[in-house]
């Protein structure tokens, strides 16, 4: 087995054994989204207006919450030292871990999103673009988040610091992610390809940046 599949298989198996973990991510996504009608009031037209933004923002926060610990456990129990010493290319290991993370949290989130869109009265034209935008945007979110998670290894209060570091970097994804949905609703289509472009850019840069940060953390 290649390094990628070995690490991916292990992380998926761990996630499966602890399936509560990815369920809680989805639960957070659901509950945080549902908070908005309580905070803003139940008017359908306002909720519909803000729905794409709210879904995207909560998806970003949910991803962030779960990314927080993507390397922490490995760091604290010594696995990270051993992975670095395995001689396997570290960017590949990072990519495998990010892939596992995306499969166990990003994908369920995408599947879940139409349900939440219903509660926020998103117009029907928005559903497919919503899922498409999440499908193309969440890989970038996971990749950029992994760099942040690697950077905050060994700090106290990793989660909050992580948000400070990566949320500003998520803004382009957020802008185009919501634009795709709103474009479909207002009838002025916006191409989702730019999200794919971001993903490719992140794919070429983030594994390296994250592994530099990981090596640094193990020093």
């Amino acid at each position: 087995m290649s390094v990628f599949t070995t690490v991916l298989a292990r992380d998926l198996r761990l996630a499966l054994r602890q399936s509560a973990d990815s369920l809680t991510v989805i639960a957070f996504f659901a509950i945080a989204t549902v908070l908005f009608p309580f905070g803003i009031g139940p008017e359908a037209n306002i909720l519909a207006r803000i729905a794409p933004g709210v879904v995207w923002v909560t998806a970003l926060l949910a991803a962030l919450l779960s990314l927080d610990r993507i390397f922490t456990v490995d760091f604290e129990d010594g696995t990270l030292d051993q992975l670095i010493l395995s001689g396997a290319p570290l960017p590949v290991v990072v990519l495998a871990k990010v892939t596992a993370h995306w499969l166990t949290t990003g994908v369920p989130l995408i599947i879940m999103s139409p349900v939440l869109a219903v509660t926020l009265h998103l117009p029907a034209e928005g559903y497919v673009p919503l899922m498409l935008a999440l499908l193309l945007g969440t890989p970038t979110v996971s990749l950029v988040g992994a760099v942040g998670a690697a950077l905050v290894l060994g700090t106290r209060r990793g989660g909050v610091l992580l948000s400070l570091l990566v949320l500003p970097l998520y803004i382009p994804v957020l802008i185009f992610g919501t634009a795709v949905i709103e474009g479909a609703i207002t009838g002025v289509p916006v191409t989702p390809l730019i999200l794919a472009g971001f993903a490719i850019l992140a794919l070429t840069l983030c594994p390296w940046a994250a592994s530099a940060a990981l090596r640094q953390a193990a020093e």
Partner: protein, 251 residues
């Protein structure tokens, strides 16, 4: 370049230019402030508020320049492991955050009389706000480790990642904003640009120079301070090491 890797040598050069830079900063402020505040005429469109520009624009300019300095320093630190490059980035960061904050605050104080609101989600304002967050993130990360050396490298990586993202953010925000741009923002900088003439350019450039010289002067002082802090850390910790060794030998 490698000549500067040696802190002593680098500081010798820095200390040599310090009086010039500091002197120039003082002179430019002494010339620039009276022009900006008294002698320059009010703008025909913006009236007296144009005087805010003479500090707003230099602050904004420096905020960007400092980030460039930090990105350069971080790259040099990560690639060549130059300690001075790292210290430069570290010393510059709080100043960059302050300049960004000042550009934001002066911009907001300008926005109220001009646009009737402190804040609009205009592209340039918005991308500046994000720049401010990037600065805060850098400072917070550098500060978050028990071991200061670890914070240095992590912050350097973050700085580089951020510098790749700044153009992306800028482009996205511009695009986002032009899509549904409220009308009040059309008043922005362009209105001024058309009326730019010597009477405005002169104080602007003098103040730009003054701010830049101020930055370099204070940067040198902060570098000195950072170097001393490193020495003190070494000294304190090594004293303890020696105590440890001696104590053990005595047993």
């Amino acid at each position: 370049m490698h000549r500067f890797a040696n802190p002593t040598q680098f500081m010798r050069i820095a200390n040599a230019i310090f009086p010039w830079v500091a002197g120039l900063a003082v002179i430019l402020f002494v010339i620039g402030l009276p022009i900006a505040l008294v002698t320059s005429p009010p703008d025909y469109q913006q009236g007296e508020t144009v005087r805010i520009m003479y500090i707003h624009v230099p602050s904004a300019w420096l905020a960007l320049m400092v980030y460039g300095t930090m990105a350069g320093g971080s790259a040099a630190f990560l690639i060549w492991r130059h300690p001075i490059a790292n210290l430069t980035a570290k010393a510059a960061a709080p100043m960059g955050a302050v300049f960004t904050g000042l550009a934001l605050v002066t911009g907001m104080l300008w926005g109220q009389p001009m646009w009737g609101t402190f804040w609009v989600w205009d592209a340039r304002l918005t991308s500046f706000l994000i720049l401010f967050f990037l600065y805060l993130g850098y400072l917070a990360l550098g500060d978050a480790f028990e071991d200061s050396e670890r914070g240095d490298k992590a912050a350097a990586i973050l700085c580089l990642v951020g510098s790749i993202n700044i153009p992306i953010i800028h482009f996205s925000v511009t695009w986002w904003n032009t899509l549904h741009q409220p009308s009040i923002m059309k008043l922005g900088g362009d209105g001024v640009k058309s009326s730019v003439d010597g009477s405005i350019l002169l104080p602007l450039f003098v103040m730009l120079g003054a701010f830049t010289m101020y930055f370099f002067a204070v940067l040198i002082l902060r570098l000195r301070s950072e170097l001393l802090a490193a020495k003190i850390r070494n000294a304190r910790l090594s004293q303890a090491a020696v105590g440890d060794a001696l104590g053990q030998a005595a047993e």
